[in-house]
């Protein structure tokens, strides 16, 4: 049982291909979604670009904290940046982000209700 890499394509259910370094990207994205304040920021961004100050005021978080999380969201490419004067506007990089959050929300509800009803 030295090493065996010959059973990849047997149990690939939804995607096709190697999935080598892709799992790292998926994990990286998921970790970026794994913070409540970042989720609030993404949800607050919605579909309109907003400046940092607006997010700070809207979510009632400290400005360095919002800035830090925005930096993290930028690192994971989940938001796009646009400067205009002294303002920096952040925007969702892709609308599917909200869809994924919705799917996670649905899954969480499902798992929790399944848990309490059994």
């Amino acid at each position: 049982m030295a090493d065996d890499r010959s059973k990849d394509s047997a149990t690939t259910p939804e995607w096709s291909g190697p999935m080598d370094g892709d799992l790292a990207s998926i994990a990286f994205l998921a970790r970026s979604l794994g913070d409540e304040n970042r989720l609030r920021i993404l949800l607050c961004l919605g579909e309109e670009k907003k400046a940092v100050g607006s997010i700070v005021q809207e979510l009632n978080l400290s400005q360095p904290l919002v800035s830090h999380h925005l930096k993290e969201l930028k690192r994971s490419l989940l938001v796009k940046i646009e400067r205009s004067g002294p303002f920096v506007y952040y925007q969702l990089a892709d609308p599917s982000i909200l869809g994924i959050m919705g799917a996670l929300h649905l899954l969480a509800r499902e798992l929790l209700t399944r848990r309490t009803s059994f």
Copy 2:
């Protein structure tokens, strides 16, 4: 600027409702998906229940590590457990988990290709 909780329903894009403690559940789920080894375990589980030893051998990970991650996946309700003799079989709690992983994979590919092509 003491406190203001009067602008909730203005910018809810995809779901409806309070989203109060739901974001915590979403973040919890996302954090559980935010580890490459756990993703490999979920992907390895696929749709058939497998014992711990099978996962250990299939992914070439140490048994305590797999057991620890399975415990974490159980804590987030992403897997179901079924004992049979000395074996403990783990199974995906919901098939939509693979769909969410696929969506994250698609988003990652999209964001990365968008990044390198601009």
